[in-house]
Symmetry: C2
Subunit: 248 residues, 2 copies
Amino acid sequence: MDEMSVFEQRSKAFYQTHLPHISIDCVVFGFHINTLKVLLVKMKGQEKWALPGGFLNKEQDLNEAAKTILEERTGAEKVFLEQFKTFGELGRSESDLGYMPEDFWFRQRFLSIGYYALVDYEKIMPVVDEISIACEWKDINDLPEMMMDHRKIYEEALAVMRFQLNFKPIGYNLLPEEFTMPELQKLYETILGKTLSRGNFQRKMLAYDIFIKHDKGRRGGAHRSPILYSFDQDKYNHALSRGLKEAW
Amino acid sequence: MDEMSVFEQRSKAFYQTHLPHISIDCVVFGFHINTLKVLLVKMKGQEKWALPGGFLNKEQDLNEAAKTILEERTGAEKVFLEQFKTFGELGRSESDLGYMPEDFWFRQRFLSIGYYALVDYEKIMPVVDEISIACEWKDINDLPEMMMDHRKIYEEALAVMRFQLNFKPIGYNLLPEEFTMPELQKLYETILGKTLSRGNFQRKMLAYDIFIKHDKGRRGGAHRSPILYSFDQDKYNHALSRGLKEAW
């Protein structure tokens, strides 16, 4: 099927099955061994990249729809996916699609509800679907040009995620089951894009009391083996729902 | 005009001028002398109360629309109004309006974009418009029954506002220009709904370095006059945009 026929077919189907004016965009951050990437797609007929996204089925909850979009794009289930902001400026979505007829679904004004996720990108299988030609991890330090206001959505998601590091635990599923404090620190540093003081980091982290400390270090190596930790699942989940730090 | 005619007229107008399926709800917290209230409206034909809200004009930015709704309801301009979450569960908005015909604008499925504000309620003039019969401040400790999922929206807004107390300064426009630390503490305690340790509060607050300390205390009274502070406007605004606490 040629390019425009696919969009036309989709347009007609979406008018029946999905709410107008509402889209969902997912900023999926991928971490693996000290690198942070973001998942981008390239739609047919486009040079610029876009965040993976979709629309809201008339019969679906908003959060369910976001999960569906992420699963279809990555195969990833049970991912921590958090809504962070809705983008509703005039003109935000109508640009960059001028090559499609005006009555196509994609050409209307959309508010986009932004979600973000943080996953181990080695465990994810990006999926190229019918209306895209590529779905790839891109290094956050070397991002290509993006469609519409997707760069801004990405930047706000990054800011929110970095901010959330201060009160929600991360690391589960991103680190080996047993890890050292320097490994956890490296994860934080990669996400934050800056180096942290080692003593300060360890003191703060251990004060959160979400770890199990193991007696044995890692095997091998001539030096004193570093202390291994794992997450205390109960305490981790508690901190995830209640926050790491006690408020006022 | 009778009740249903007003809704019918509005329905017809909204179909022309506003985007379908998108509503905006504002949780307006009002503070004055150690009391915290929330602004609620009662629509014609309804026993339950609702958050003041409205819809998105086709020609308006989302944030502008939220401001317009708040201004029309309260006369308040330049209020700190912050988007906090979009509510999109199936069935969230379709209940409680069964007394209207099904083809009325108000009966469709709506996603609601939630905003919250914190104002001095003495400076606000609640407005009863054409489709409502009341618009009143209600004590948060004695709230009436609310329509749809508005109680949930209110509760999430309260949680977000309380959480934000940890990293955004508040108090400007809610306190007299010069105030004492006990007065500021009382504001925090009222919003948080709990008492705080005095020494700890003052230490934390003063460490934020957003105050100007005044040499003279308040006049009158037999006792040693308490130290007066005011907000350092530059530092306050900086903390408002960048956060009170340095992150990692």
